[in-house]
Symmetry: C2
Subunit: 337 residues, 2 copies
């Protein structure tokens, strides 16, 4: 799935900023791929990039209209169709992260066929996967795991990629969710794969590589989340990580969408090692990533210091303070092997 | 999915007895639903029930032609189509456990439409599931778990249902695989569900029930199988079992389809409790089911005794010696609660 950029970001008329979460993630990590945004009347989200019409975006070279929104049910609202058709007529491909397949809307399918444009359904993969084999592959792999959903697993993996590349290391972010696929232009939304193929799909996403190469694999869910732990375990086994980073949000009291309390960082470390050993007996933690957005500077520093001390691991907020110490530890741990 | 019986079992021309595993499971557990079998020239499997033509079966009241075979890729061979169409023309519905959807074959779809017959694709569910919630539901649940795939999890759950009903207990087998769905006429092939909905689908399969009612939930895979552990964990969380039985095959040296060694029964008990506590803190083992087919009578008895002693649990071979002691333990454990 190679989605041509630059992108024109379509937000429809979503009712809050959270509805544009996918688009915001793309802008945060690939600002130079995003020409501008197009919003319908009543849209309550704003990516902070120029508003433009289809014609303006086409004139500036936009190659793909990105439907970068999330909504309940993942359905494409009918009144968004005409903008999508106009973009196709102006020469753009279309990529959507919604559950509804673009080609299931007749007007969109017909316009794409007529103009020879591509339709990308990022949540769906047409790839046929094998079941996971669990055999050790060459190359290094790091997985971001979490105490919950939406605690920064994707942002941490992307921050690691950015900083490792800046240090001249050979490293690739590997997307396992729709926003990650948009950002990296490849990958698989693993939660949409048929259950039998979770680990097999991850083996395909992060294949055998050069022994010094690092795959930075985006984790999903949590081994302790009652809705999604199966996905998290299949991902762990398929990733067969040498190293993992635990991601955490310290102000949350219950897990997202359910009534269960969050596990401790230590519980996540222990269960990740115990289960991860099945496909990589040498699995080990190399850092803790904490989203300290809710804290002032002093409180954030104190929280990170406490976590680092408690677990004898570098702890950082990747967005606020970077991931340097985690990469130092990674380099140290694997230098002599 | 209510598949009308009696069934005519179609084996095509599968090349060994294993290819007819689904059909054999149905005959083993629902002999009175199976009128006969129909086989193409060169078929190497035999269910030990009368061979009959479509006309003979229709004359005796067969209501569904069951395509009860497994093959690599789950594809329906083209040369099987004409028998299926003939069955439809003779008034039968058709149910298939293959990956290929019956209606994707034009001749079959047209015949079914013309004659108003139903097509059942047992591996696929049209049910829309919610994501799992992990909230404790009323009713008792027992899950069969395994040291590997194909170690008797389905047969153990079915044997428990049979014996518990014979004792006047209120118990229902809950199918999570295609053969189980054929046998019970309901359920969901959980390995074919989209990954995000594994635990949610199991919550749907084994819903809230009378406090004294037992669901006997068919397990899948193993928490230690690198290909399928994600499915097994989602199933465990969705089932939120009060009790579990560990199923084991003592002669196997590596896990099915991969090179990994089998875990010990104790490892499976420990990890099942550790992970299962997330949705049922009171989860506990109540027995061990060992497939002793490869052993003579004395060796089988010795193997079961050793396992019972090592784990302080009743150990039995459900097919060879029954499940009485496991139900005794279950009754004892839960009588006072």
């Amino acid at each position: 799935m190679n989605i041509p950029h630059p992108y024109l970001m379509f937000l429809g008329d979503v009712q809050d900023q959270l509805g544009a979460k996918t688009a915001q993630g793309i802008v945060d990590w690939r600002r130079d791929w995003c020409l501008g945004q197009i919003r319908l009347e009543g849209c309550k989200a704003d990516l902070g990039i120029p508003d433009m019409t289809i014609a303006e975006a086409a004139g500036q070279g936009a190659r793909t209209l990105v439907v970068g929104v999330v909504n309940a049910g993942g359905v494409l609202p009918e009144h968004w169709t005409s903008v999508i058709v106009q973009a196709i007529e102006a020469g753009m491909d279309v990529a959507s992260g919604l559950h509804t397949r673009l080609e299931s809307i007749p007007a969109i399918a017909e316009a794409a066929a007529r103009h020879g444009r591509q339709l990308f359904n990022v949540r769906h993969s047409d790839q046929r996967f094998a079941t996971g084999k669990g055999t050790k592959r060459p190359g290094r792999r790091l997985l971001t795991v979490g105490t919950d959903c939406s605690v920064g697993k994707k942002y941490t993996a992307l921050a690691l990629e950015k900083e490792m590349r800046a240090r001249g290391m050979d490293a690739d972010f590997r997307a396992t969710g729709q926003t990650g696929v948009f950002i990296s232009g490849r990958g698989v939304a693993i939660d949409a794969v048929v259950a039998d193929f979770i680990s097999g799909a991850v083996e395909w996403i992060a294949p055998a590589a050069d022994p010094a190469h690092w795959d930075l694999i985006e984790g999903q869910g949590s081994l302790y989340h009652p809705s999604f732990a199966g996905v998290s375990l299949g991902l762990l086994h398929g990733a067969q990580p040498d190293a993992f980073v635990v991601c955490h949000e310290p102000t949350r009291s219950t897990m997202r969408g359910v009534q269960h309390p969050l596990p401790s960082i230590q519980e996540v470390i222990d269960l990740t090692i115990r289960c991860g050993r099945l496909t990589n007996p040498a699995i080990r933690p190399v850092g803790i990533a904490i989203n300290t957005k809710a804290y002032g500077e002093d409180e954030a520093r104190a929280c990170l210091e406490a976590a680092a001390k408690a677990h004898d691991l570098p702890a950082n907020d990747p967005i606020r303070f970077g991931v340097g110490e985690i990469i130092d530890r990674l380099t140290e741990e694997f230098a002599t092997e």
